[in-house]
């Protein structure tokens, strides 16, 4: 990559779940957690703040959220203050924007905070907001929300490749098992065997409740700094090595194959090319398991297994510790919950914690040198990928 190298020097998340806390309160909590996690962080040195928030206008009836978030965190940004919105990838968008700002020299010390408050007294209102992620007058108006869209994806994958409900349950079981080691996860201390998952009620067949990530309240924050400042904050910086993104449609009429996610393949290729690494260099991945079928197709799009073999890949333990590539040791969206704006930042927090060996042994990746983080948004019509490494680029 061109420009200055950028270090991720720390981060933290709030408790994820159905929280008795409002949008601004969640941001305050994320700020407290961040300043506790990065003792060298001085408010006055934070020149920029990027706020990942997908739908605050809908979920919190609040616009102009960037200065609101800055005030909640006690920050007075003097270079760049902005919100990033990319639905389910809003958090990663904040990190990518901060990365670009620091690499270019516009910023030296940037905070990224991601937040979503999704649980409302009326779930129908929350579902209404989620349907607006789709092309509202043409797709949303027919009832297009995420579950029926990804149900169609699963239906086609089952039909074309013989993928089974048991394979999808294997994704959910793995990610919930990891989430059990993560106290900030929504489903911490909840056990989900494959048998139990296969008995949960249908949401949109062939997807059951355990195949779907949750409506979740939560926030997360990280600090990014220019390379020369990193030693002031930590002895163990994590480096942003590369990034890639691809989008080729929005209206569902242009989705093409539901089961071949070429957008992810292209975004990952660009991220790895810019990092001057290959998928074989990656030691663990945080993939966007908004639904179990998503993670299965993501294995295939990343080239971890041939097309159509993603179900067997997870069933054989290849996405587990000891397998070909550990996927979602944090617990994934399935286990941690999915507060849209916070997810991409919480994934980055997991990367820092893995690479500094500060997670419980049950989910510690043995040699966490290189991580790939992926978010899709909407109907998998946008794919965003970051590559992080413990070692700085040469």
């Amino acid at each position: 990559m061109n420009g200055r190298r950028v270090a991720l020097v720390g981060g933290a998340t709030t408790k994820f779940g159905i929280r008795a806390a409002s949008w601004p309160e969640l941001v305050q909590e994320a700020g407290a957690a961040l300043f506790a996690a990065v003792p060298g962080l001085d408010s006055d040195r934070v020149d920029s703040l990027f706020v990942g928030a997908a739908e605050p206008e809908r979920f919190a009836f609040q616009s102009h959220v960037a200065p609101l978030a800055a005030e909640q965190m006690g920050l007075k940004p003097f270079r760049i203050l902005q919100r990033t919105e990319l639905a389910c990838a809003s958090g990663q968008s904040a990190i990518r924007s901060a990365y670009a700002a620091i690499a270019s020299g516009l910023s030296d010390v940037a905070v990224c905070v991601g937040v979503e408050k999704m649980n409302l007294p009326s779930m129908a209102e929350a579902n209404t907001s989620m349907a607006c992620v789709m092309d509202r007058p043409w797709d949303g108006a027919h009832g297009a929300t995420a579950p029926p869209f990804f149900a169609m994806v699963a239906q086609r994958h089952m039909r074309e490749y013989g993928t089974t409900e048991e394979m999808m349950a294997a994704v959910s079981e793995k990610n919930h098992r990891f989430a059990n080691t993560n106290p900030t996860a929504q489903f911490h201390e909840k056990t989900f065997s494959r048998e139990k998952l296969l008995r949960l009620p249908w949401v949109a067949p062939p997807l059951r409740l355990g195949d779907c990530s949750s409506m979740t309240d939560g926030a997360a924050a990280v600090v990014l700094v220019a390379e020369e400042l990193a030693p002031e904050f930590t002895d163990t910086p994590v480096w942003i090595r590369g990034t890639g993104q691809y989008s080729d449609f929005h209206n569902l009429a242009h989705a093409g194959s539901l089961t071949e996610w070429t957008g992810l393949r292209r975004a990952a290729q660009e991220a790895l090319r810019s990092a001057r690494l290959t998928i074989d260099d990656v030691d663990f991945a945080e993939l966007h398991d908004c639904f179990t079928i998503s993670e299965i197709i993501e294995y295939e799009a990343l080239g971890l297994c041939p097309a159509g073999q993603g179900g067997s890949f997870v069933l054989d333990g290849q996405a587990d510790i000891g397998g070909k590539l550990v996927v979602n040791p944090r617990g994934g969206l399935l286990g941690c919950g999915h507060p849209l704006g916070a997810t991409g930042i919480a994934q980055a927090v997991e990367v820092v914690q893995q690479m500094t060996h500060r997670v419980p042994a049950a989910r510690q990746v043995p040699r966490p040198g290189v991580a790939l983080v992926h978010n899709l948004s909407g109907s998998a019509n946008v794919h965003s990928v970051m590559v992080y490494s413990r070692e700085a680029a040469a």
Partner: protein, 184 residues
């Protein structure tokens, strides 16, 4: 665009007649899925006017011939505005579908359970997302034939869906909900 032959709709949303229910209740505009259809609000008003005549239309670029969905005011290929309205086939085949059992948006709760799907229109390279009317238990199958069906919203606007027109064959069926009524 050449839309002189199409009559305009009445424009803004009239007030719904008394208490509206079902998919077409009129909540505040920012919670209303259905578009503002009149010529004061959208250059695509001819699409909705055609729905009122039972016709299914979209735009085609006169310059490069590309067929659009949804209809547009500027061609995304050549970026010109020289578009024409054309009729679309009304018959289609289900490519993928699901049955929504829980989690409906506002105004759609009373519709549960309902089917949605992607349907391949006969003879044109368009695969559209739509509500699919018809029995939901057992639901439709991939490959089932469906037909375009415009319908009235209570406040005077028009919308459309597809309806299953053949008997379910069971061929290629994804596993149906074992007891969808339990999730009503």
């Amino acid at each position: 665009m050449s839309d002189a032959s199409l009559p305009a709709t009445s424009g803004t949303r009239p007030k719904p007649p008394g208490r509206a229910d079902g998919p077409s209740a009129s909540p505040p505009f920012l919670l209303d899925f259905f578009p503002l259809e009149g010529p004061e609000q959208t250059r695509l008003a001819p699409f909705y006017a055609a729905l009122g005549e039972g016709r299914f239309t979209t735009t085609r670029c006169r310059t490069d011939g590309s067929l659009h969905w949804p209809p547009r005011v500027v061609c995304p290929s050549c970026h010109r505005e020289d578009l024409e309205w054309v009729e679309l086939p009304r018959e289609a085949t289900i490519y993928a579908f699901s049955t929504v059992l829980v989690g409906a948006p506002l105004g759609m709760e009373a519709d549960l359970p309902f089917c949605v799907g992607l349907v391949d229109l006969d003879g044109v390279p368009l695969r559209l997302f739509s509500r699919i009317a018809g029995p939901v238990s057992p639901g439709p199958s991939i490959g089932d034939r469906v037909r375009f069906e415009p319908f009235d919203l209570p406040d005077g606007r028009r919308f459309y869906r597809f309806r299953v027109v053949n008997e379910p064959t069971g061929v290629g069926k994804a596993e149906p909900p074992r007891d969808p009524s339990a999730h009503r």
